[in-house]
Symmetry: C2
Subunit: 349 residues, 2 copies
Amino acid sequence: MNSVQFTINRIQPVNAELLQQAQARLDNKTKPPGSLGRLEEFARRLVAISGICDPDLSKKVIFTFAADHGVVQEGVSLYPSEVTRQMVLNFLAGGAGVNVLARHAGAEVRVVDVGVDYDFEGVAGLIHRKVARGTRNFVKGPAMTREEMLAALRVGIELADQCRAEGVGLVGTGEMGIGNTTPSSAIIAAISGKTVAEVTHRGTGIGDDALLNKIRVIQQGLEVNRPDGNDPLDVLAKVGGPEIAAIAGLVLGCAANSLPVVIDGFISTAGALIASELHPHVRDYIFAAHRSVEIGHQYMLERIGAEPILDLGLRLGEGTGAALAMTLIEAGVKILKEMATFEQAGVTH
Amino acid sequence: MNSVQFTINRIQPVNAELLQQAQARLDNKTKPPGSLGRLEEFARRLVAISGICDPDLSKKVIFTFAADHGVVQEGVSLYPSEVTRQMVLNFLAGGAGVNVLARHAGAEVRVVDVGVDYDFEGVAGLIHRKVARGTRNFVKGPAMTREEMLAALRVGIELADQCRAEGVGLVGTGEMGIGNTTPSSAIIAAISGKTVAEVTHRGTGIGDDALLNKIRVIQQGLEVNRPDGNDPLDVLAKVGGPEIAAIAGLVLGCAANSLPVVIDGFISTAGALIASELHPHVRDYIFAAHRSVEIGHQYMLERIGAEPILDLGLRLGEGTGAALAMTLIEAGVKILKEMATFEQAGVTH
């Protein structure tokens, strides 16, 4: 816990003075004040988060954390667990959705095995940080031990520290793990007190009967493990997963390192929710990429206090939404850096 | 009218079979079916519109049409008319919002003087297609003659024809004209039968009294000119403007040339609305870039039947929203062209 607590202790509020300075600079550009809406918000927040007047977004990285889930045994997903490892290889070959969209956004995808039930020994291009070969089925007991959960959390923190050292300007989260909408719904139910039915949806596209089964499975998991909603790390260990813990760690690490972090969809937001429950200023560093089709997503976003950037009916995960949102955040920063002022352009105002 | 009617007669429905073929191809990519939401819609529509299985978006062009408005005499805008010509020079120098965002999207900005009250003779880089030195004040009579309106409409059509000849893959609309939310509100009121108050908003940011004045001015313009809501070109001439007519022509021309066209915000949508009232299949070629802050925008979009791609609180115009939306449409096309299939990636499905 010490390195986790050390990271939490490093988190500071963002620089409010820089926020105002950046907005004043935007107001002097050749446009009516505020007329670029959220692009202006993105620009001023990037300045305030990074502490840099002209943020450099030339290095952008999306982390796609992969892990397996024992709860798949309960029939909560349309796909078998082997798809997790197959998709990891697809990410490494550059053929998945997140690869296409990250290339489009000028971002690098880093794929992290934090808990896949497969031996990737010798596989090149993969970041090998496995903390367990998948979770245990949470209807029978805790998904992870506290040690496994903390190890996964530290993976995310260390990757954020490394981004800071490398001069990365914008970090994105993503994940792959067959069955992982199930722990995500369990987390928001445990933390918010919403009923399981209110926060549970179709994942990759399950039918009505499978949805009822998924709700029952999550209810059972919560009854068996009784996670303490006021202890986010207890919830994370008992009904979460290694990729969700790594995302929570990445978000914490970004906040501690003054790095803006774009969270992807439902599962990523579950990780970000854990992080933001651990320290109130974490939310200042978060950009919510999009509004997922998953019905529990809105509750998470409200609790974090984040307004999603896009609403395109996405429900793929991997970091696909984060990649798209990065293009819009970067557009905002370019407005700040590249637009002419009234004086430069000789425009009356 | 002949060349306009000739263009309208060329408009065909999009290829429904190609729409299905493109979706079938998307469904074979390594993701749950439909999980990339509207990106998939963008991809299949691009295929169906262009008639090309792998649409080439390497050439993207945004047209920013500029014109002045006599109704500015009535105090409807926060800015004086001279800002229109100043901004034209800013566009040509590359310093305006649309320049920054078009560069970000990999699109070219083409600036068209279709009715600015200023002599740009000899100014390089500008497309000189002036049909009048601004409109007349519509509270005193028609904004344009029918001939001026048709001339502006033909400018847009010819530019669309030229895009087709050049192999442009995606066209965007934009505009600059101090006072031009006023004719745009007048157009939607005349066509939809909504009250002026329901469709009139703050433009560049006018206060409460100025808003009441703007509503009164539009009401007066409609009473004086009595445009026929069932004759879109009558509405366009009497209470529109040259840049709105050129946008209507561009949208018609794109539809006639099987070119997808991204319409920007409130004023561009007024032009697209005129075009879509002239032929029911025009809407199949339209992508609505974003939901503007202007309250009349939603009524226009509903009437066209277009769902906006972005909702970022934008109200600048110029083509800024179109540039941002282009990045998302291109992302969808890249999904179609670049993602691996289940077979290629060896992923179980």
